[in-house]
């Protein structure tokens, strides 16, 4: 199904030129296509087949885990008889937030802390509940956040089990006692985040320097940590690589790192029925669930559509 979405998305964006090429591409791919869901063959992306008028446009970040969550929402909405238009893998917040504000997108899975920081760069860390209510204030008119999930995907100071036991580390503050230069592999913007080197210095008295690896805590970052190129890595807490490599996420007792629970940001087009369907997904989405969903994508290399439909039926949501 995500196949369809990709194609329809392309058709929509690229217009007539894309139509011919997209159609040619479809031809060759048909034998491999799985059966269509209810949001299926609506030609060149026309949106008037659904239950309640125009299709609901669901976006996702260019992040496989985010796409899986978006796909959970999409299939849950389709199960309610609604028509959805999938527009996945949109690069950055600076790109998709204006599209949400303008109504080009209706739903996108977000993360509490990062979303708040987008609107309020001065935002300080707090409990998920506090960030959630601050978000309600900060969002522009026409946008709102639904409930947040238990599942969270936040930045972390993670190290190997060996390094942790050699220096008796359990929390970030313990790093202050380590008598060697500490480096942390992370995306380069980690350098300027409030929980980056400056925050670690200020809150915990720990000196670290960043080795930039631009795969957002992905395999390259994990490999650098495991190989000992760095002592620490910023690995997102929903990453299955943490358990697989027996890594240790250092505790953050001072809550320096913003909570990043999954929270959908939605437009006014999402009525109560649609919001209920999305809320039902969020209520079931535990931290372990998100790790497992990610594992099916990275280790088992399944598509987001397959992962979502399997999980939704396991949970009895469709």
């Amino acid at each position: 199904m995500s196949i369809h979405s990709t194609r329809r998305h392309l058709l929509g964006v690229l217009g007539a030129g894309g139509l011919a090429l997209g159609a040619a591409a479809c031809g060759s791919s048909d034998p491999f296509e799985e059966e269509d869901g209810s949001g299926g063959d609506s030609g060149s992306g026309s949106s008037d087949g659904g239950g309640s008028g125009a299709a609901i446009a669901i976006g996702s970040q260019a992040y496989y885990s985010n796409e899986i969550i978006a796909e959970l929402f999409a299939q849950a909405l389709e199960a309610e008889g609604l028509t959805v238009d999938r527009q996945y893998q949109i690069g950055q917040r600076e790109v998709y937030m204006p599209e949400l504000e303008s109504g080009a997108l209706d739903v996108l899975p977000e993360y509490l802390g990062n979303l708040l920081q987008h609107y309020d760069s001065e935002a300080v860390s707090a409990t998920p509940e506090e960030v959630h209510s601050a978000l309600a204030e900060a969002l522009p008119d026409g946008l709102r956040v639904l409930d947040f999930a238990e599942a969270t995907d936040q930045d972390s100071y993670t190290t190997t089990a060996d390094f942790a036991s050699a220096h008796s580390l359990t929390a970030i503050g313990d790093l202050a006692g380590v008598d060697e230069d500490l480096t942390i592999a992370a995306n380069s913007e980690f350098e300027v985040r409030p929980y980056g080197p400056d925050g670690a210095k200020e809150v915990y008295g720990v000196d670290v320097s960043v080795v930039p690896v631009e795969d957002s805590g992905g395999p390259l970052t994990v490999q650098a940590l495991v190989d000992g190129d760095v002592q620490l890595a910023d690995i997102y807490t929903s990453d299955p690589a943490i358990a697989e490599n027996d890594l240790v996420v250092l505790e953050d007792p001072e809550s320096m790192i913003l909570p990043q629970n999954v929270v959908p940001v939605v437009s006014e087009k999402i009525d109560e029925a649609a919001a209920d369907a999305i809320d039902a997904v969020l209520a079931e989405l535990s931290a372990d669930d998100l790790v497992e969903l990610n594992r099916r994508s990275t280790v088992e290399q399944q598509s987001s559509a397959d992962i979502a439909s399997a999980w939704l039926s396991e949970k009895g949501l469709v």
Partner: protein
Amino acid sequence: MSWVLDNLDVIAGYTGAHLVQALPPILLAFVLSLPLAKLANSRGWLRTGVTTTSGLMYAIPSLPLFVLLPGLIGTGVRSPLNIVVALTLYGLALMVPTASDGFRSVSRDVLGSATAQGYAPAARFLAVELPLAGPVLLGGVRVVAVSTISLVTVGGVLGVPSLGMLFVDGVRRGIVAEIAAGVVATAALALLTDALLVMLGRLLMPWHRGREAGRP
């Protein structure tokens, strides 16, 4: 490999999007380079200017250009139009100096005799000058085509759909086959386009083939 077989439709979709962003810049760079090169050749100082500007343009890293261009021309970052404009600029940077050389290589005597035979300027350009500069122009377009098709992938970092998305997603998920598929598909697209251009050249310039074969 199984990732590739399971995701042929994804690859096909990205290939289509890739072509939609790559083909217009190649065509535009070729068409626009002809008048620009003629203009450049008409004045010595202009020609120097064009060569310098082209060198400058080609030194601009592509990723920042893709990010900054929307601010200058008013498109969205995710708009393929943005990529098309940026790649046309790169294409022109390669193509204008080449076309300028191509037209200069046409002997003045030949042009003079064509005029003497009664060719009007436009007809002389189309029937004499363009075909004679053809082989050089073809060489230029081939370089532009291959480089453009490769550069489209950079948009993937920004989430513009193209085969470059396979690199970004693949590195994030740790799927080597996904990245390899992107590399192979991009290279295949480039080489296929190149081969088509060569064939087109033989079709339009049958005399050129013989001359090339006759070289030592």
